[in-house]
């Protein structure tokens, strides 16, 4: 595995090196993008000055709320739906086509319902994330082998215990897939809404920096967002991998 990581680092390094060269040579002009080293320095300055900490905290905070809500509602809904075949079958087409629907179009309605505060943004993040959790959790619940459920009955476990000691642990890797998607979607929902409805937060700052031709702020912010997303995703993937490897799956 170590060798592959080396290759990946090499690929990323080469890409950055090429970008650096293109920028310094003027093939990519300063207005489009500053050279990578410049972006790193600007990022450092930005974080050090703390001027955008409030925006960063706002975005990440709202995304976390959306994510947590999606997780709780998603897992509970999955547990309920899994036991009621008829309802689940009826909602199935909704889940299957959900991500083709432009959720952002519901933004005005949400403003009316939740006011002009952070509510609509959190709701959009939640709405985007919750179905990913439901679909993947249901998938995990489906996969619990019947033989394990029979074993649980032989051991005379109550329904709650079966869920806690057998169903949930078995479904965990699949639930984690949903969790990873929920992280991505809550960020997309919150930041995207901040683009539309300029009220603060990283999306707003990026949009403002764009319109002010302030690449020194815009690029570092974008890089910061990407790094945050990749970091969280990476940690979750590592956890998922441990769970799967223990089971002898890839």
């Amino acid at each position: 595995m170590k060798r592959l990581t080396l290759y990946r680092v090499a690929v990323v390094a080469i890409v950055i090196a090429i970008l650096e060269w293109l920028c310094l040579h003027g093939t990519i002009d300063r207005i489009t993008m500053p050279p990578p080293h410049r972006i790193v320095l600007d990022l450092y300055k930005l974080l050090a000055s703390g001027s955008l900490n409030k925006a960063i905290a706002k975005t990440l905070g709202n995304a976390s709320i959306a994510f947590t809500l999606a997780l709780i509602v998603g897992v509970i809904s999955s547990a309920v739906l899994h036991g009621h075949r008829a309802v689940r079958d009826t909602l199935d087409p909704l889940f299957a086509t959900y991500y083709a629907i432009p959720i952002f179009a519901f933004y005005p309605l949400l403003i009316y319902l939740f006011g002009l505060g952070d509510g609509p943004q959190i709701m959009i993040g939640f709405m985007l994330a919750v179905v990913a959790v439901i679909v993947n959790t249901l998938n995990g619940l489906d996969r619990v082998p019947v033989v394990l459920l029979k074993t649980a009955r032989i051991h005379r476990l109550t329904r709650f215990e079966i869920a806690r000691t057998i169903t949930l642990p078995y479904a965990m890797p699949y639930v984690l897939t949903g969790v990873k998607l929920a992280v991505a979607y809550s960020l997309i929902g919150v930041i995207g809404s901040e683009f539309i409805m300029s009220r603060g937060g990283m999306g707003y700052e990026i949009s403002f920096a764009y319109t002010s031709f302030d690449n020194a702020t815009m690029y570092p912010l974008i890089v910061l967002t990407l790094l945050a997303a990749i970091l969280v995703n990476g940690l979750l993937t590592r956890w998922e991998k441990v769970l799967l490897q223990r089971r002898g799956l890839r």
């Binding site: 592959l4 290759y7 990946r8 690929v11 990323v12 207005i31 489009t32 993008m33 079958d89 009826t90 909602l91 199935d92 087409p93 909704l94 299957a96 086509t97 991500y99 083709a100 629907i101 432009p102 952002f104 179009a105 519901f106 933004y107 005005p108 309605l109 403003i111 009316y112 319902l113 990873k180 998607l181 992280v183 991505a184 960020l187 997309i188 930041i191 995207g192 683009f195 539309i196 999306g203 990026i206 949009s207 920096a209 764009y210 815009m218 690029y219 974008i222 967002t225 990407l226 997303a229 990749i230 995703n233 990476g234 993937t237």
Partner: protein
């Protein structure tokens, strides 16, 4: 009642349910924020006949169509190559998964700076959204072809070309179609998002405009049209997806 009719019945119940919730919401909230199902339908009927709408629709379809075509071609080629070339596939896969998870909407300003406003930005954004899942699923589909199928092909002394077309491709097809389906939805979203910010034409722009002017009827109308379009195509692709997977699973079950 056969399974297919069950599905149709369930879909109808679902649609009826949604309309009901919609109507109730309308009663609660009033026409300052949404319009009733009936009013929306009437407005939509009028809207689709206008020329301006036709122009915007064409712009969106043009951008989306182009984006999807490019995403599919890129995704399939990249996916096949990474699937066959083990080292590249192993190196690239986690990186692609990481790219899949980042909020691509943040890259949006960069794309605007690189492609300017207009069609190329829309296409670029759509491609960016769609190409990654198509690549990942295609990669997976090649990897997941059961070795026994390849052994069978060798035992039957099939030529490499024959193997690809008569064994590999059909075996990989179900997963590829899933990728195409996911790619469809995401490319559409990508193109629409770009239209909302980077264009003076297209349904996305129309929507953004309507939001700005607080034209509730128009907002609801466009949303309805987009949802219906996306849901219809999605369902068709889902149907194909299911059929292919069902065949594959039945074949697997027999093989055991």
């Amino acid at each position: 009642m056969s399974v297919r009719w069950q599905r149709v019945r369930n879909a109808l119940i679902l649609i009826a349910g949604i309309v009901l919730v919609w109507q109730i919401l309308f009663f609660m909230v009033g026409d300052i924020a949404i319009s009733s199902p009936l009013a929306t339908l009437q407005y939509t009927a009028k809207l689709v006949r206008t020329d301006t709408f036709g122009g915007h629709l064409r712009a969106t379809l043009e951008a989306f169509g182009l984006a999807y075509l490019i995403a599919v071609m890129m995704g399939l080629s990249l996916g096949f190559w990474l699937g066959f070339h083990k080292l590249s596939g192993d190196v690239a896969e986690p990186m692609l998964v990481a790219l899949y998870s980042i909020p691509k909407v943040t890259l949006y300003p960069i794309l605007l700076l690189s492609f300017g406003l207009g069609l190329s930005a829309k296409v670029a954004f759509g491609v960016l959204h769609g190409v990654i899942p198509i690549t990942l699923f295609t990669l997976g589909s090649v990897r997941n072809v059961r070795p026994i199928h390849l052994k069978t092909a060798r035992a039957l002394k099939l030529s490499p070309l024959d193997t690809v077309f008569t064994v590999l491709f059909p075996a990989a097809l179900p997963e590829i179609v899933t990728g195409l389906r996911v790619g469809f939805a995401l490319t559409l979203i990508g193109a629409l998002l770009a239209e909302m910010f980077a264009s003076q034409r297209g349904l996305g722009f129309l929507l953004m405009n309507a939001i700005g002017l607080h034209n509730v009827d128009l907002i609801m109308s466009i949303t309805l049209l987009l949802v219906v379009f996306a849901a219809t195509i999605s369902t068709i692709l889902l149907h194909i997806d299911r059929r292919l997977h069902h065949q594959a699973r039945a074949a697997d079950a027999l093989a055991m």
